[in-house]
């Protein structure tokens, strides 16, 4: 336990070395809390209150109200869980598919390698968002998990190819060779030798997959192909846009809040990758 605490402290110290990255890290923590703890802070009440439409920030409604007089802060607190859940799931599945296919292609070689590589090349070339639109209109995305699965199914191409390339080059390195000569089992080689060396890269890719999942998710909601029953930030942006942000300058506040949230979330995630690079890069780590 004590060891874990010490290594946690060390990790924090390393992450703090890159100031911008650390701010991103704090931002990410904030949004995770907002999304998963937020719903417990304020009950969701989506009943219309026609007396307080578009109030703008007031004491009763710190972030103002929407076109039906509903509190925006409340909606923000409740609207993150789904967005971030889909992003996390999609990123996780993307990494899993990419790592499996990448490692398989690199280790197996031959026909499997050619086929997987060709598949990856095709899936990279197809523009993702139109593909998602087509898929979304044919397969009704009923659950957030379903959406995450589809996002991962079309998003693994680039990562798979880099993982394949990295495994190929790592395979040739001395310590892996040494492990093989020593007769250590293949699981040892993968989990003790190869994986730790790719942790930095994979963790950064995880974050980047999250950002593209958020991009696609909100985009799909905006074009109305994902059912809007659930309440989330993407739905808020869409409603704000469709309910008169263009014509009613008081409505702009309603649009601006979820947009700011999405932008800050994306910025936090992307800047956090700088600290992650330092954290998981053994060379940088030893250097301090």
């Amino acid at each position: 336990m004590k060891n874990i605490l010490i290594s946690l402290k060390d990790s924090l110290k390393i992450m703090m070395r890159n100031k911008v990255g650390f701010i991103g890290f704090l931002g990410t923590i904030f949004f995770l809390l907002l999304a998963f703890v937020g719903p417990y802070l304020m009950p969701l009440n989506m009943k219309a209150d026609l007396n307080s439409i578009y109030t703008g920030p007031t004491i009763g409604h710190p972030l103002g109200t929407d076109y039906q007089g509903r509190d925006i802060l409340m909606q923000i607190l409740h609207g993150g869980r789904e967005v971030i859940y889909v992003a996390l799931m999609a990123a996780l599945l993307t990494i899993l598919i990419a790592a499996t296919f990448g490692a398989l292609a690199a280790v197996a070689g031959g026909l499997i390698d050619t086929v997987l590589n060709g598949l990856a090349e095709i899936i990279i070339t197809i523009p993702h968002f139109p593909l998602l639109l087509v898929l979304a209109s044919l397969i009704k995305f009923k659950s957030p998990t379903g959406l995450a699965v589809i996002l991962a199914a079309i998003g693994w191409g680039g990562l798979m190819r880099s993982i394949r390339a990295q495994v190929l080059s790592l395979k040739e390195r001395d310590y892996v060779e040494a492990a093989r000569v020593l007769g250590l089992p293949i699981s040892h080689i993968i989990f003790r030798e190869i994986l730790p060396n790719m942790l930095s890269y994979i963790s950064v890719q995880f974050i980047l997959s999250m950002t593209s999942a958020i991009y696609a998710q909100v985009g799909l909601i905006f074009l109305g192909v994902v059912p809007m029953e659930q309440h989330n930030w993407g739905v808020m942006i869409t409603l704000a846009w469709n309910q008169g942000a263009l014509f009613n300058s008081r409505a702009q506040w309603y649009l601006l809040v979820p947009i700011t949230i999405i932008v800050l979330l994306q910025l936090s995630l992307i800047t956090m990758t700088r600290s992650m690079e330092e954290l998981f890069n053994p060379r940088l780590r030893r250097g301090g």
Partner: protein, 339 residues
């Protein structure tokens, strides 16, 4: 000998492009035809529900999707491919009797125009700014530009589009948001005139700004790091020792080599920009193929949707192919080694 290798590289690229288009075409065929609850079945079901006899419903479906349902699946597939090769994509469900190919011909050029102009501006601009950042690295100008580049490339493009409309259009009234919609003003016809060009650029301005803003950051950062590493190359040092002028070294030795890695990202960027067009064109109500795709999806106009998806993919594949060709021309090493 050299000619052979050269044609080899280009030949392989061409084959890859064709295979990709073929795979995507096949994939969409089976997706439309075989998925449970596929559009074909749904269409027939709705017709039946409206009291149309089965045979007629099937005939209507067949003519819409250009699939003869009485033939075996494999033959239907071959027919579909044959029709595609002839540029025959069937007929729109919503605007009856309008061939899909006509819709594509009308709206695709606008999207291609906007995307090409945007990529051109952001590519050139990104290269210039990237070189400046590399030459004055760690100065305030580099720090500001790097900061802006990394921020702007992490903001989703549709968010920037919305902000432009709301802030500059509605709030500051720099432009009339109703008037700037569409791809041309009413009454203006495509022709070779300054008036037409001005009008086309006026309507395309906003999407172009968004695409440039959201792609230029990554060009800048890639170009910066590429230029810095090229500046340290031996051949640059030797060129200085050879008494070559500074300006010539910067252009023909440094920049000329530093842009090569950018062509790899060009392919990704084209896909991303074209892929984002349904969103951006919807926000600005720009009459391009992306807006048509999102329309077709909301109205469940499957033949149009399928065809636009195919054509968008094909455009990206062709653009990638062209980028590969250009890289092959610019980098002699790639022609012999990268296939």
């Amino acid at each position: 000998m050299l000619k052979k290798i050269l044609s080899n590289y280009f030949f392989i690229r061409l084959v890859k492009a064709l295979v990709t288009i073929f795979v995507v075409a096949t994939f969409t065929f089976f997706l439309i035809r075989l998925m449970p609850g596929n559009p074909l079945d749904i269409f027939i079901a709705t017709q039946l529900a409206q009291g149309v006899p089965l045979q007629e419903a099937q005939e209507r479906a067949a003519s819409l999707f250009h699939i003869d349902l009485s033939r075996p699946m494999m033959l239907q597939y071959l027919d579909y491919l044959k029709n595609l090769a002839r540029g025959d994509f069937g007929v729109s469900i919503i605007s009856t009797n309008t061939p899909v190919s006509k819709i594509i011909l009308r709206f695709l050029p606008w999207t291609l125009f906007v995307v090409t102009v945007s990529l051109f501006i952001s590519f050139i601009g990104g290269i210039l700014l990237g070189v400046v950042m590399a030459l004055y690295r760690n100065s305030w100008i580099d720090q500001i530009l790097s900061f802006l580049a990394s921020i702007i490339s992490s903001i989703p493009n549709y968010v920037i589009a919305m902000l432009i409309v709301v802030y500059f259009g509605v709030k500051l009234k720099w432009f009339n948001i109703a008037e700037i919609r569409g791809s041309l003003s009413p009454g203006v016809k495509p022709e070779f005139s300054l008036y037409f060009l001005k009008d086309a650029f006026y309507h395309a301005m906003l999407p172009i700004i968004v695409y440039v803003l959201t792609t230029i950051g990554s060009w800048m950062l890639v170009m910066k790091s590429s230029t810095i590493s090229t500046l340290g190359e031996d051949y640059v040092e030797v060129a200085k020792a050879r008494g070559i002028k500074e300006s010539r070294i910067m252009t023909s030795y440094v920049a000329r080599n530093a842009i090569l890695p950018l062509f790899v990202s060009l392919a990704i960027s084209i896909g991303f920009v074209v892929g984002g067009s349904p969103l951006i064109e919807s926000i600005f109500v720009y009459q391009g193929i992306g807006l048509k795709l999102s329309d077709a999806i909301t109205t469940r106009d499957y033949p149009v949707m399928q065809a636009i998806f195919l054509i968008i993919t094909a455009s990206v594949v062709v653009a990638n192919f062209l980028a590969d060709l250009l890289l092959g021309v610019l980098d002699p090493r790639i022609r012999t080694s990268r296939n």
